[in-house]
């Protein structure tokens, strides 16, 4: 690379997407995802707040376990927890310099996410077949809103995992650290999706 080309390449380089910024101590993508997750806390927080308000102000409130499918939701909880482990194992293997195992665990994460959505699809189908929809009552309205929004987040994560599994891994050849960081960032997002479900499951199904 001649001096001119090298200078041009230097100008195009986005700062702190691999190395940490001196002031935050983090690379920008990691700080960015945490800010995004903070906004997500407020989004789901508003809906949880709505749920508490509706429930506490209602004279009677249906108990989810009397008609929702708790065994299927329990399986889904295990599936999502397993996916959190697989994504962090993927990141760990990438840190060890093992792309092959890293990609295997990304693929497992993607499969878990798909499994979660398929199970959720069975649940939704059953609810509609039984004549329960968001219009049925406040409980079903908040159930479909919360689980639907959570499902959209799962789909969003799947798109990103699929990209890193099938296309994004090419970056490994030239920018290994950056690719590893990307998996860490999407992993943080995914753990948040898992965290939301950890609270949704008992709130909607078991109380």
């Amino acid at each position: 690379m001649d001096a001119h080309a090298h200078a041009a390449h230097h100008e195009l380089e986005i700062p702190y997407n691999v190395h940490p910024r001196p002031d935050t101590g983090l690379y920008n993508a990691k700080f960015g995802i945490w800010l995004f997750l903070a906004s997500e806390v407020m989004l789901f927080g508003a809906l949880f707040s709505t749920y508490i308000l509706l429930r506490s102000s209602a004279p009677t409130w249906p108990r989810g376990w009397t008609f929702l499918n708790v065994p299927l939701a329990t399986v889904n909880t295990f599936v999502l927890i397993a996916s959190s482990v697989t994504v962090i194992m993927a990141w760990s293997y990438l840190r060890l310099g093992d792309l092959k195992k890293g990609r295997i665990f990304i693929a497992l994460t993607l499969l878990c996410a798909l499994g979660f959505l398929v199970i959720k699809g069975f649940e939704y189908t059953h609810e509609f077949q039984e004549g329960r929809s968001p219009a049925t009552n406040n409980f079903m309205a908040i159930y479909f809103t919360l689980t639907g929004l959570h499902g959209l987040h799962v789909i969003g994560g799947m798109v990103v995992f699929a990209y890193f599994l099938f296309f994004g891994h090419k970056m490994w050849a030239t920018e290994r650290e950056r690719y590893t960081n990307r998996i860490e960032v999407v992993g943080l997002y995914w753990h948040f999706v898992d965290l939301v479900w950890i609270f949704l499951f008992p709130s909607l199904y078991l109380m």
């Binding site: 691999v18 101590g25 945490w34 407020m42 508003a46 295990f78 943080l188 078991l206 109380m207």
Partner: protein
């Protein structure tokens, strides 16, 4: 496959190979292959713990058919424990940078306001 060598390991702090750059003592991520493998065992242990707690929640709230107030208290306590495990170990919040703690403290404050606002408001005003 060739065995993993020290030089192949990515330092998550400095993102430099061979640990050449400065290390922050506040962060406890592993740097060597042995340390990373040790962390991986911790992740698997946390996974087992999360699975057990999920089973416990279902047994306590669904199996025992408790009255609502007891079920709510138990379910939320177990969910909070599981949340701590995920945030602390998988998201590494037990050993993160101060700036992230700052962001999360601010978020927790606004989240509390969000929950307190409707709770505090006299929502039973309709028809009065």
């Amino acid at each position: 496959m060739d065995p993993i060598k020290e030089k192949d390991v990515i330092d998550p702090l400095t993102h430099a190979h061979d640990g050449a750059a400065m290390v922050d003592p506040n962060i406890h991520h592993g740097h060597t292959p042995e340390e990373i493998r040790k962390e991986m065992k911790v992740y698997l242990a946390v996974f087992v713990g999360l699975g057990a707690l999920t089973g416990l929640t279902v047994y306590a709230c669904y199996g025992l058919r408790m009255p609502p107030h007891k079920a709510i208290a138990i379910a939320l306590a177990i969910a909070a424990t599981k949340g701590f495990l995920v945030a602390g170990f998988f998201m590494h919040l037990l050993s993160e940078r101060k700036v992230i703690y700052g962001v999360l403290i601010l978020t927790a404050f606004f989240f509390a306001v969000l929950l307190w606002g409707p709770w505090h408001h006299n929502y039973d005003m309709f028809g009065r």
